[in-house]
Subunit: 456 residues, 4 copies
């Protein structure tokens, strides 16, 4: 499964001091964007305090923790980490103390020119206490603005960031008495903004703002190249000139919660249209369309609508999975994927199946699923992937493995089909993606679907 690194949330209250509670509530809704660690920074008098821990939002925060966290301004972060061992050092937000003041940053994204920036900063004698790209932003701001963070203007901050830091970034920065949100000029990662009578809120996805009110019409995106500042006086913004955007298409394919609107498009509806287009491009005669729950469900519905072949729940996801209790050395049985996904025999047996999933990364899981369906007597298994084949890795925040591990980088469609033992295999084409995006495809990053900058 491809995973992204992080979700961010920020709250600036017009009145009251429970901003951290709002942030935690929002992080709960963004939990799907990162489960390794979570953290919150908040104002406490003239200081900024932080609370970070390994684990899920629900496990870390509770009434007691929150009772100690009061403030008017707060930002938070959920983190997914690519490293094997969970490490608290990388948990955000990061707070920097400088010139008798401080500021705190929560960042979603991955900075493409991080090596270059690090080298330049190191030449100035700057060290890095974490492995995180985000730390660069803190140092860069200070090294350019040698004065109290409280005196940095929105214009100064945004100029430094937009002119130096390569995408991708959706940033929320809090100071003692204001908050700034910034989104890179390419708009790789989403970032939403909402204001109501109680305060101002930023959230990676607008699903994080759902708990606030039914009147969601006032939600808008922080625009690519835009920086928004919230102070006592209200909202102020700076808009940098931008050209083409590079919205990450994988936000539509997999990351976002289905009810989120990302880049102006609802995630569930996009997936349905990807399923429809995949059906147009890869028709096959079959009895039922079976989604790989839960991520494939929207796309399977689209495939079904277009093909007229009914969706059936042929694979059930077990909500209560955990460790395996019978260990491999104790038995010749292979349990593996069977504990997570179980086929419904009555639905599967003797059927010609169109199996719909959102992507294939290494091919291991898909091979197991096809095998499982055959054990349950599926007559034919036709695999349909509702996005193009992933052939390249990513420098803007998606944790795609090395090319060597990407099956589509090593094999062509026929070879993959054979590898996973499918009766047929079809991907959504890049042309199909462009068609779905209408004339907007030039504003999307489709880099991971493109090999050596040459299309298939």
């Amino acid at each position: 499964m491809l995973m992204e690194e992080c979700g961010v949330f920020g709250t600036y209250l017009k009145e009251g001091n429970i901003a951290p509670s709002y942030v935690v509530e929002g992080l709960m809704a963004l939990q799907h964007r990162g489960q390794e660690a979570a953290g919150v920074s908040y104002t406490k008098g003239e200081k900024i305090e932080s609370f970070k821990e390994l684990g899920t939002v629900g496990a870390i925060f509770n009434k007691k923790t929150l009772s100690n966290m009061k403030g008017k301004i707060s930002i938070g972060h959920v983190r997914y980490s690519t490293k094997g061992t969970p490490d608290i050092t990388g948990a955000q937000p990061f707070t920097a103390n400088y010139a008798n003041s401080s500021f705190s940053i929560a960042h979603n994204g991955q900075i493409e020119n991080s090596e270059k920036l690090k080298n330049e900063l190191e030449k100035k004698g700057i060290i890095f206490l974490t492995d995180s790209d985000t730390e660069i932003v803190l140092h860069l701001l200070v090294s350019k603005l040698r004065k109290s963070p409280d005196k940095w203007t929105l214009e100064e901050i945004s100029k430094i960031i937009f002119e130096n830091i390569g995408p991708s970034y959706s940033l929320i920065i809090m100071f003692k008495n204001r908050m700034i949100a910034i989104r890179d000029k390419k708009g790789y990662r989403p970032l939403s903004f909402y204001e109501d009578e109680h305060g101002y809120y930023f959230s990676s996805e607008d699903c994080g703002l759902r708990f606030l009110s039914p009147n969601m019409k006032k939600i808008r995106d922080v625009k690519p190249g835009e920086a928004i500042e919230i102070t006592e006086k209200g909202v102020k913004n700076v808009q940098y000139e931008t050209q083409k955007y590079s919205h990450c298409f994988f936000e539509h394919v997999y990351f976002s919660r289905p009810d989120s609107n990302v880049f102006g498009r609802n995630a569930h509806q996009m997936r349905e249209r990807m399923g429809e287009q995949c059906a147009i491009e890869n028709p096959v005669d079959a009895d039922i369309v079976v989604p790989v729950m839960e991520s494939g469900l929207s796309a399977a519905m689209g495939y079904s609508k277009m093909s007229g072949i009914p969706v059936e729940m042929g694979l059930i996801r077990n909500r209560y999975i955990g460790r395996t209790f019978i260990h491999p050395e104790q038995t010749e049985r292979k349990i593996g994927v069977k504990r997570k996904l179980t086929p419904i025999y009555e639905v599967i047996k003797n059927k010609r199946i169109i199996l719909v999933d959102d992507s294939i990364v290494r091919g291991t899981t898909m091979t197991e699923i096809v095998d499982l369906l055959r054990q349950y007597r599926a007559r034919e298994v036709h695999v349909r992937i509702s996005s193009p084949a992933v052939v390249s890795t990513c420098s803007w925040g998606v944790n795609i493995p090395d090319k060597k591990e990407l099956i589509a980088s090593q094999k062509n469609v026929k070879q993959i089909e054979k590898h996973i033992n499918a009766d047929s295999l079809g991907y959504l084409s890049l042309k199909g993606v462009r068609k779905i995006l209408n004339f907007d495809h030039e504003n999307y990053c489709l880099h991971c679907f493109i090999k050596n900058n040459l299309e298939e």
Copy 2:
């Protein structure tokens, strides 16, 4: 949500001593039948040991716990409790010590004549250490068979149980060197049996046996009125004469995992057919069919197939729910159901919606959902329930509230429609249920759908 009380699992190994590991693995798959407590009994030399705790299977058992639990014979239990406060005293299996030996019981069901049996036993000076019906079974066996449990024959045990204990029960009893499974003559609750080269296994639902092998064809039901004994010599059974069965229809409506085959019918497919029949009986012109995830999904698919109106994911269930962090006293906002279910605005707005769920109990949640859809600008909300209205409580193991709390016991369909503020409301009829069950409906218990023994 209606809830059932418990799932049971048993393992008798032909070789090796990791029967408890098999039981825990099986309980993982039965977790949906009870999350309050879990327990395992197992042989340790000539003794039977137990390990029980409050919590989910995954939280209670781990490598370390299991390393101390070795034995050839083991039974286990997951418990759902109707009481507010979790209480370890009622956690099963129950182990009885008698005449220098012992036996242990895991029970799914609720005994209809428990009061009468308790009174008779109390007259003999017997006390009850728990509130559980199951304890009656232990006392009854001993009070009738005044000798070491090891000398009780299958015939003696089954005669006492079948002739005295009213349904419902699916029981697994373990002794130092054998295991007996018994299912009441009416067959209220399911119980599956499987044998392979390693051992014998009993499970409340056959989904609990899925991890053992792809060759599931050898699974069979313990029949109503049947008692099966496993010893070193193999399998022996006793079959009591039975007449009509009383399979609990709610196993099809809600309890069973969709991939389970219960009473010879696949749960998912049954739900689809209930949705289809509901569509035939309650047609309405609309734009989309929206399931109340996850339980309503199968029925919604059936409704869609029959009506030709497409299923759409208009409501998303948040996988990561937990406590609320913003407390009511802090804000005038009502969060409630919004955190669990979030509508997709783009799917909902301006649409005429057919909302499909499996049942309405008190009506509270459904009222909130309809309200939520209207906030998201649904044009019309037509509620369709894929089972008949629940009007009576249950004495055979389903935790249905008092009639006073059952909305359908207090109001008619029109009144409920108004109460939940739906544009229209339609239930599956009892006639429809009979039709779906074909000529088999007389073998089902439909008691909770019938008021005063008079149909609507």
Copy 3:
């Protein structure tokens, strides 16, 4: 270390409903009497509810747990278990349901005629759901009094218990609207009683009553052979005729908290006098007296006072012990007792040491300690034990191992001296014990110090 099985606490409030909070507070103070499990029973309307869990009182109970536990009457129990695997089934109090009512029992002790009682009860068709002696009491009362527990009189209850159940027992029984405390006629285990303006309280040791008030003069013992009943009307008691008592001398040696007054004697002061008498009987020329902290401290002070040789803290107990992190397979080093007890080199080196401990059971730990002192250059190590040699096992509640494992049952003093590699070894004599107890020694059980009913 010898360990006893359990502590009990009971509260009957004249006003208010937080009796369970009092019980938990009391159990905290009795924690040293059992750390495996803890439980509380309490009235909830007409019912008795229970909450029991494995673990220490502090780990089990908290604000949240207690907020659900309200009642006027409550009893509680801390359990030490002799079995390797912790088992929740044996956690007390035990609650019995009978004849539409119920009662709950907490028991400290071990019933000497339990096998006989069990056999008799089993002949009546009674089974045992636990391994605990305590369950016998429940069954016995019901089998003799076939009516609602609410109608049992104090006279009936105490007659059945005193005439049938062999010691040892200090029992607290709660009903829906009263509480009864009973102590066996021999007075093996302690039990204290206290009344103030808020309510009535029973506690295994009076240290459990310390939190209630500074005015502790009103504390009295429940007398051997006495049963005390608390109802709305106040206190009522029944006193059975008793002859000699059999107070467990090990309560003085080790079990009780130093500040407790047990059998009319302060535990710390008794230990001091045992140390003094041991000094009289086993004089030796040495430089310092070193206690094995913490249990040996009082006795060492006594030894020092009498001998004039100063006490020195030559061994420090590490408060923060836990698991070992360097595993034996990884190194040839033996860590063992060194992590718990560390000698102070400057105090130990070149010194002739009198090492004072309260008892030797198997001899393993003492051997390690002597070895450790020699590694730290002690010149001589003279071991002094402030109680007589333990040579027999116990049937009244002390968890003494089999004779085969008791070093003093297998070896004489000279042999033990050699085994533990001491320069000399001296025990307090039985005569010395009698002298300390003055003319009261016939009211004490000294059974574990006596081999085959013949003194050394």
Copy 4:
């Protein structure tokens, strides 16, 4: 209670890769120096990894955590924090990434010129991600040595640290393939060094080395002004010229474990001598000497020896304390200190008591103890403090409150005596301290005992 901030431990193994296990074992023994957080850094191939968490060593580390932590070189840290809210950001060790390499630091102490150093570094554009003094060391080294940490020589490192950083510091620095330990020229905090056939070890106190071997004679101090480097080639050291030392006297008074040898003196023995001297200076006619366990025990023994008045255990510390279960709003009773310390009535009543403790900070606890003893009928209570009155705060690592909160800064001895309601009060004098330290007192820091640089 005064508390210090931290303990450090380091291991460089000659063979094998379980250095982190040794470090965790050592941290267990240093747990008394900090319970808020613990952490370990270790080599993993060419990288340095860290694992830090809030909580005690025993709660954080286990077999599973350690199984992922393998390396030849490892350092660790236990942290006590002065802030109310535990904060993971300040947990050590700190690891800095620079110039494609990294190094990690564990620090015990507090840097007196930290503000000046921070200002200088901030002028160079350096920010601080934590509130910890320790971070200064990382930045300072890099800002002075602009090359890969692997190329920094022992001479360069020690020169920068000794010439720039004010005391107090006992530092352990690890690199990919070597370890350096440095102690400030004044020797405020202790640091021990040990070598055996398996490796090299540094520990804040030598009690942390106790588990390694009985042969502790090879332990030596890292000297004030000394830096020791461990590489594959063995040990190398640099010694800076030093003049007078400033050993922290509070290490003797309270911090160190009694079995530790700190500044060449055993902690327990020093405390005894302080008690003796206090007796000489503050004689009083009384019946018994009662220590405030556990910290006052050694001093009480000294007082007793000198005065000839016997030590008695009149106050027992409850090992199992935790939260209070009966809340103030529920009862007029004040529980407070009574749950932690309980007097023994039989020891206390009618006695003239000399109560010995190591220090009085705010006076709150002492007032409660005296009150408690009077409730238990003590005839007289004479308080003796085995160190001089604490009148000034500390800049070198001891968490002493503001002068306003220090009772001895606000009141004279007579006034304090009255405040705590003692019959008499006596402190050890500064002259007495000097006498105990013989001619070595000029090598100690006694700053917190001195008001305005003028002695009492």
